[in-house]
Symmetry: C2
Subunit: 415 residues, 2 copies
C-alpha cells in the first residue's frame, strides 16, 4: 500500500487519451515551432460533457492558461468538453496572457461547436514571450476537422517540448460490472520538481465518476506519483494535470468511497505512476531512470521526504551518470532530508537488472565488490533502497541522472 | 545594512590565517593523496590558548571530526590551541570514525606539546571509506616542526579538494584603539548548499573577544554569508567554520555589544563574504560567479529565501552558462520560493561589467536588446537584481553556473 493506494497490475491497451469511449484528438504544426515535422498545437474533445478534476503548479508565477482553465472549470461546476494545448510558448508572464488564453478557448470552442467556457487550455514552452495568436487562429479549423480517435499520438506529439519520446499509456479496468478504460498523455522533461502537479498531463476515462470523487482521487494519486518526481528541482509555472471522465462506460457513477472507487484509484495510480516513470526516464539529458524506495519510515511524509531527497541530489545524480557506487552521497542526501528520524539505523542498497549490492548498514559502510556494483550501475534503470528501520511506511520517488546533455539542452533553450 | 551588519571596506593584508598575531601554520603531503604535489594534511596552532567559536553542518549525518571538535571545545569551555585537518577522506560513516578523529587530535597535540583536548580536528573528502591513521602518524612530527607564520598557504593547500584555487584572505581593523587583524582560509567546492556552516572554513584573529561574543558574531554572519551560498544544493556532512581569537592585539576584550563589537562583526562579515564569493566563483566546474540581490522584501527571511531560490535553480544556472537571457527562469525561481509575497510587483534586472539590462517589470517581461543582454552575460561575474517592492529588507546570495565540468567532476569523484 502506498498512501492507502493498492498497487495493482492492469492490462494495457492501445489508444492513449482516445482509448476511453467518447474521446477524439488531433495535433498539427501551426507554425509556433519552426520544425514543420513537430506538432505544436493539439486538441482533445469529448462527445459528451465530462466530469473533470485538475491540479495546478504551486509556483506563485502561474501561467495564464492555468488561470483560465481554473475559471472555466469553476464556471462549469467541474465539467468540460475538452482542451486545446500548445507547445513552444508558455503564455506566461505576459500582460496579455489571460486574454490570449481566453482566445484559445474561444477559437477551439467555435471550431468544435461548444461554448468557450466548456473548453480549457494549456501552454508550455518559453516564459515571457508574447504568444502570437494568429498561427492558432489560422489552424484551429483544420485541427478540429481532423479530430479522431486514431489521432491521439498527434496530440501527444503536440505537447512535447524537449521530450525525446512520446508519453502515452492506456489501460482497462472494471468498475460496477462494466469494462472501463483510462488513458493518458504527458510531456516533460525539464523544470520538473516535486510539490507541484508537474508538467502537462491529460488523462481521460469513460468511467462515470463524480467531479468530487475525481478531484479526491487525483489529489491522492498526484501526491505519490508526479509530486514524487524530480528532474532538476525547478517547479514550473505551467504544470497542470487534467482528468476527464466521460461516463460512457455505463457504470453507476462513483459518488463515494467503496470498492469501485478503490479500483478507480488503483487504475489512476497505475496510469500516473507509469507516466511518472516515463517522465523521469526521459528527463532532460537523462541516460538512466532512478527510482528510490524508502521503507521502514515512521510515517508516509517521512518516507516521501527521504525518497525525494535522494532523487533530487545533484551529486547522487552525477554519480549515477558516472556509474560510481559513491553511496556516501546517498546517505548524505538522506541525512539532510528535513524529517525526524535516527540516521544510525539506516540501510542502503542499490539494485538493477545487473544485480543487487548492499552498501550501508546501520548508517555505516559495509564492504562490497566494486565489480558487482559496476554491474548494477551499468543498467539504465537504477533502484536505490533506503530502509530506515523505524516504522512501517513506504514511498517511492523517481528521477534521472545528471548528464552533460542536461547542461547542453538548458544552456541554450531559447535559441 | 544586511541583517544588522554594516557593510564596510577594510584594508587587505598578506598572511592568510597567520596574518593575526600568534598563529603559525603548516601543510604537507602525507600520502592520503597520491599526488605528491598536493598537500593533504594541515595544521594551525596559536602561541596562546584562544577563545573559539564554531558552527557545524545541519546534516543528520555528521562527520566524526565534527563530533570530536564539538566535544573538545565544550570540555575546554570554548577555548582551543589549534586544529589539524586532512583532505581526501572525510572520516564519516565509519564505525571507527570518532576514535580516528581523537587519534588525530592526540597526535597533533603530542607533536606540538599541548593537551589532546586543546586541539580540534576537521576532515574532508570521500564519505564512508576508513581513514588510514598511519600516514598521519608518520608525518605529524614533520608537520609540527614546520609550523611558521609564513606557511599559511601550505595549510590552505592541504584542505583543498576539487578546488582549483586556494582561498585565503586577511584584513586589518581597529578595535579598542588597537590595530587588529583577521585572516581566513576555506575550501569548496561541491556539496555546498545553504542552511549549513558550509565547507571547511578557518578564521583567526588577534582581537580579544569573549567566547560568547565570538559565537554570537559567527552565528549572525554565517546566516548572511556561507548560508547564502549554494553550489549544488547538497548540504555536506562535514561542514565546519572555526573562529579562533588569540587576543594578542591587546585590545580590551569585547564582552558585550557596542562599538568595538560592531566593528568586529563588520570585519568578520567582510572576511566571510569574500570567502563566500571565492567559494561560489570556484564552485565545481563553475565558469561564472552568480550573485543575486533581493531588495524591497517585507523582511530579511523573505529576502534570503528569494535570493537563494534564484541562485539554486539549475535552469537559471544552465542559462548563465549558456549566456542566455532566459529571465523567465529567474522569475520562475522567485515564484517557487517558499515565502509570502506578491509576484505581480516583482522587477528583475541583470548586470555585470558588461552593462545592465532590465528584463521584467511588475511580473511581466519588458522589451530588451538581446545584444546588450549578451554583453552583460559574457562577463564572468553576473549580478541578478530582484526588487519585490513590498518592504525594506535586502539580502544577497551567491552561486555559480552549472557546466559540463560539474557533471564531469562528479561523475567519477572517487576514481
Amino acid at each position: 500500500m502506498i498512501n492507502g493506494i493498492e498497487e495493482k497490475q492492469f492490462k494495457t491497451v492501445e489508444g492513449g487519451v482516445c482509448a476511453a469511449k467518447g474521446f477524439k484528438a488531433n495535433g498539427l504544426n501551426c507554425g509556433l515551432n519552426k520544425d514543420k515535422n513537430k506538432n505544436d498545437l493539439g486538441m482533445v474533445v469529448s462527445d459528451v460533457l465530462c466530469n473533470a478534476a485538475a491540479v495546478y503548479t504551486t509556483n506563485k508565477v502561474k501561467g495564464a492558461p492555468l488561470l483560465v482553465t481554473k475559471a472555466h472549470l469553476e464556471t462549469m461546476g467541474g465539467k468540460t468538453r475538452g482542451f486545446i494545448a500548445n507547445s513552444k510558448n508558455a503564455n506566461t508572464c505576459n500582460a496579455d496572457g489571460v486574454a490570449k488564453a481566453e482566445m484559445m478557448c474561444a477559437l477551439a470552442a467555435k471550431a468544435t461547436g461548444v461554448k468557450p467556457e466548456e473548453m480549457v487550455v494549456a501552454s508550455t514552452g518559453v516564459i515571457g514571450e508574447i504568444l502570437p495568436i494568429e498561427p492558432i487562429a489560422e489552424h484551429v479549423e483544420e485541427l478540429a476537422a481532423g479530430l479522431s480517435p486514431q489521432n491521439h499520438h498527434k496530440a501527444a506529439n503536440a505537447i512535447m517540448t524537449t521530450d525525446t519520446v512520446m508519453k502515452e499509456i492506456a489501460i482497462e479496468f472494471e468498475a460496477g460490472g462494466r469494462l472501463c478504460r483510462m488513458g493518458g498523455m504527458a510531456k516533460g522533461s525539464g523544470m520538473i520538481h516535486p510539490n507541484m502537479a508537474t508538467t502537462l498531463n491529460f488523462i481521460t476515462t469513460d468511467a462515470a465518476v463524480s467531479p468530487g470523487m475525481l478531484q479526491k482521487a487525483l489529489g491522492d494519486v498526484v501526491k505519490v506519483t508526479y509530486n514524487c518526481l524530480s528532474v532538476d528541482g525547478d517547479t514550473s509555472t505551467n504544470d497542470c494535470v487534467l482528468l476527464m471522465a466521460s461516463g460512457l462506460a455505463g457504470n453507476d457513477e462513483i459518488v463515494s468511497e467503496g470498492e469501485d472507487y478503490e479500483v478507480f484509484k488503483s487504475a489512476l495510480y497505475y496510469v500516473m505512476m507509469n507516466m511518472t516513470r516515463m517522465l523521469a526516464k526521459d528527463g532532460e539529458g537523462a541516460s538512466k531512470l532512478m527510482e528510490c524506495t524508502c521503507d521502514g519510515a515512521p510515517d508516509l511524509e517521512t518516507a516521501i521526504i527521504v525518497a525525494k531527497s535522494v532523487i533530487r541530489s545533484p551529486l547522487v545524480k552525477c554519480a549515477m551518470f558516472g556509474e560510481d557506487a559513491n553511496w556516501g552521497r546517498i546517505l548524505c542526501a538522506v541525512g539532510y532530508a528535513e524529517a525526524d528520524f535516527d540516521i544510525d539505523k539506516v540501510d542502503v542498497d542499490m539494485s538493477s537488472a545487473g544485480g543487487r549490492v548492499a552498501v550501508c548498514r546501520s548508517g555505516a559502510g559495509v564492504a562490497f565488490s566494486e565489480e558487482e556494483a559496476a554491474k548494477v550501475l551499468a543498467a539504465d534503470e537504477i533502484l536505490i533502497y533506503i530502509h530506515l528501520h523505524q516504522g512501517e511506511a513506504s514511498a517511492k520517488a523517481w528521477g534521472c541522472d545528471l548528464t552533460y546533455d542536461y547542461v547542453k539542452i538548458n544552456g541554450d533553450y531559447r535559441t
